[in-house]
């Protein structure tokens, strides 16, 4: 059964005009999300993943500017909407959770009040109903004693609790799309496990799609249905999660997976196969494929031209002139 297309990002370009030059944070990113799908957007610092999510929410501030592309959400281009219309969408149809919950939670209001406000802003219900719904939500996200916690302030809660509260606020209006921007990065491993379970659980219950942004490949392997690997503002590999992990075609993805210490490897205390060099400075991007200075397979053409994102094996897009591991797709 073909799932309905929820979000289509086409050739999105967001540039930052700083005093040191132009930073092409997002430079031609395209991907598609279906209803209920979890897409993992993964990359290191400077890859543009956070800016992508901010662009979708139209929250990019000066010196940044969305300079091109389309963001088609439920059939309509978000880039053509007015600020007024966007405000109706944010929080109700598209919700976002961040790495640091304190940026989303106002320290001078109780979390109960804040969640209620989110509900009342977008839904036409009475205060009583909103309060009831809020307590239900707090319970749903696993906050014990929800009636008591309703009156607590953010600083009175632990990191894990705050993150749950933020999730409660985000799902209060049953959004179609949840954007999770490094939401578990700052959490301890055992708390992170809790939150990921919660997110998976909620996703099943509510049927929302999740744009899961992270730098941690392991989290993506766990959470995502499809994966888009980004590098310096562009997607370099895009396919379902198994294909990307088990049969990576882009040298960057492949190199990255090789360089992560595995819990199962026998070769401890030996040098890891590391990717050489470093992520280029945004002010001095290499010509041609941005990855070429670090790529063991780079040839002349890689240093001159930027490859296109092309289907190399069925439903597996790669941006490379010399994709690796091109054999039968693992079914």
């Amino acid at each position: 059964m073909e799932k309905e297309v929820l979000l289509e990002v086409k050739d999105l370009k967001t540039y930052f005009y700083t005093e040191d030059g132009v930073v092409r944070a997002v430079d031609g990113v395209s991907f598609t999300m279906h209803k209920g799908e979890v897409l993992g957007l993964v990359g290191e610092s400077g890859c543009g993943k956070s800016v992508t999510s901010l662009s979708i929410m139209r929250l990019v501030d000066a010196p940044g500017k969305i300079v091109g592309g389309q963001i088609i959400f439920k059939g309509e281009d978000l880039l053509k909407k007015s600020e007024e219309e966007m405000r109706k969408i944010r929080g109700s149809e598209i919700a976002m959770i961040f790495q640091e919950p304190m940026t989303a939670l106002n320290p001078v209001y109780t979390i109960g009040d804040q969640i209620m406000e989110a509900i009342l802003t977008h839904q036409d219900v009475s205060e009583e109903e909103a309060k009831k719904k809020t307590i239900e939500l707090l319970d749903l996200v696993g906050i014990p004693d929800p009636e008591k916690r309703f009156d607590e302030y953010p600083h009175e809660m632990s990191g894990g609790m705050r993150q749950r509260a933020m999730i409660a606020m985000a799902i209060s209006c049953n959004p179609d799309l949840l954007i999770s921007d490094e939401a578990t990065t700052a959490l301890d491993v055992t708390i992170q496990a809790q939150i990921l379970e919660l997110m998976k659980d909620l996703q099943r219950k509510i049927g929302m799609a999740i744009l899961f942004i992270t730098h941690d490949l392991a989290l993506v392997a766990e959470m995502a249905d499809s994966v888009a690997v980004t590098y310096t503002g562009r997607i370099v590999e895009y396919s379902d999660v198994r294909s990307v992990f088990k049969n990576s075609h882009h040298p960057y993805t492949y190199g990255l997976l090789q360089s992560i210490p595995s819990l199962l490897s026998e070769k401890t205390k030996e040098p890891l196969p590391a990717i050489e060099g470093m992520v280029p400075s945004p002010y001095r991007m290499p010509k041609g494929c941005h990855f070429n200075p670090r790529c063991p397979f780079a040839t002349d053409i890689c240093r001159k031209e930027m490859p296109e994102l092309k289907e190399v094996t069925p439903n597996h897009l790669v941006r490379c002139f010399h994709p690796v591991n091109v054999k039968e797709e693992v079914s």
């Binding site: 005093e19 050489e276 060099g277 470093m278 992520v279 280029p280 400075s281 002010y283 001095r284 290499p286 010509k287 070429n292 200075p293 670090r294 790529c295 063991p296 780079a298 240093r303």
Partner: protein, 302 residues
Amino acid sequence: MANEDYVEGGMNTSESYSYWRKVFQRLKKHKIAMVSLWVLVVIILMAVFAKPLSFGNNPYSYIKSVPWASRPELAPPGPGHPLGLDSMGRDAWSRLLYGGRVSLAVGFICSIVGAVVGLFFGLISGYFGGITDMLIMRFTDFMLSLPVLPLMIVLSAVIKGSLWTIIFIISIFSWMGVARLVRGEVLSLKEQEFTEAARAIGETPGRIMWIHLLPNSLAPVIVASTLAISGNIIYEATLSFLGLGIRQPTPSWGNMLNGAQTFMLTAPWLMWWPGLAIFVTTLAFNFLGDGLRDALDPRLYR
């Protein structure tokens, strides 16, 4: 490393630039600050080259007579005396130039003394904390609570007013703001890991303060000191205007105003020029200070 030549080992720029050069670059974008900087350079040069610029005149001689006026005293501007003569028959132009030396000297020296003393107290207070901090801060608070101008007036009435006593008197009250600023910077710098790294190497507190804390605390000190120059010039002008600061016959912009008061209606130009000089100089230092504050913005730390 692979193809490192292209990305130059990941360096952000092809040539090295130090913090100060970057600061100057940012300052250059601040038009008003740059204009002020040039104005100040001109004013300073004029004060330095007061002798040749006086066209043979000097601030002390009493001119016997001038062709275009009946008496030398309060003679209006004319050839050889672009600003005329003051009430004692002295060339006003050269007095203005030499007076500039006094005002600028006071402004700079008091500011520098204030910065040095403030840095000293702020560093010690911030780094050692505890009783030391408490004592120094209470002392600073005490000094800040004193009425500055009345005390300066009293002190300069009591101590004979030469240039150096005036500098001394104004300096006494110039260090407190800097001390507080530096202490604040040091408190936050102390928590940064490079300070811990210095301790891990076994550095003495003195070295840590000199090499690590001081250079990183300079930004607010520079801004505060630049802005303070204006204040110091005004203090000197006020004291001299009240007849307490620089005593005659040494010219200063302040005592020139004092001398010109009585003749406001008959020879207004004697008041305009020193007044304008004070106004322009202090305004320029203020704009420069603002520009520096923007240029030194901590966003430069990356």
